[in-house]
């Protein structure tokens, strides 16, 4: 089974702090994704990566950055956390082949910014 793990289930941070959310997948997937999930808005794509050191902006990249130094690890960085970044953050990975574009999700990190 594909396993996607996220470094924390719950985080509480203060406004202005730098926040790192880490995601690791163990299936040698090419693609990795970061979403945020808010009630009534569904999942919105923040960033994705289709290869090591490659990244693409999603629909809501403002206030976030990402890092992918190794294939299995994709980090989401909040450079200066703000209260409107309080949300559930979901990481996902997918194989990257044309007929295997299923995403596999981690359990999520619920972030509270005070």
């Amino acid at each position: 089974d594909v396993k996607v793990t996220q470094s924390s289930r719950y985080l509480v941070k203060r406004t202005g702090e730098k926040v790192f959310l880490e995601c690791v997948q163990d299936m040698d997937h090419e693609n990795m994704f970061w979403y945020r999930q808010d009630p009534g808005l569904g999942l919105r794509l923040i960033y994705f990566s289709y290869d090591v050191k490659m990244k693409e902006k999603g629909d809501i990249p403002e206030g976030y950055s990402v890092s992918r130094e190794k294939k299995e690890r994709f980090s989401l960085i909040l450079e200066s956390a703000s209260t409107n970044q309080t949300s559930m953050y979901l990481c996902a990975s997918s194989p990257g082949t044309a007929d295997q574009e299923t995403q596999y999700f981690g359990p999520g990190t619920r972030l509270l910014v005070l």
Binding site: V4, N31, F33, Y35, G40, L41, G42, L43, L45, F48, Y50, E56, L90, A92, A98, D99, E101, T102, Q103, Y104, F105, G106, P107, G108, R110
Partner: protein, 115 residues
């Protein structure tokens, strides 16, 4: 604009009753289609997917979905709901265009099951 619509925000059914969750998408061609389920406090789990071929696809936990091109729909069904099916359900589409990927999720339907 490309979009995925789940018109029902909440649905309540009695245990043992049948279920249908609606999903409509807007694209020029047939995308890859998915249904995911999210239990409280958890990530998303794939229920089923449609890429091509038979328009009726079977998934896990007794779910099925039917792709109808003429209606741009991919509705999820289950003949008899169990209390453990209470969760949030997301429809999603995937397109690969111009060398980039595009996943779009619906806003979700929250299912409540009455005992």
């Amino acid at each position: 604009a490309q979009s995925v619509t789940q018109p029902d925000i909440h649905i309540t059914v009695s245990e043992g009753a049948s279920l249908e969750l609606r999903c409509n998408y807007s694209y020029g061609a047939t995308p890859y289609l998915f249904w995911y389920v999210q239990s409280p406090g958890q990530g998303l789990q794939l229920l089923l997917k449609y890429f091509s071929g038979d328009t009726l696809v079977q998934g896990i936990k007794g779910f099925e979905a039917e792709f109808k091109r003429s209606q741009s729909s991919f509705n999820l069904r289950k003949p008899s709901v169990h209390w453990s099916d209470a969760a949030e359900y997301f429809c999603a589409v995937f397109r690969r265009t111009s060398g980039t990927y595009k996943y779009i999720f619906g806003t979700g339907t929250r299912l409540k099951v009455l005992a």
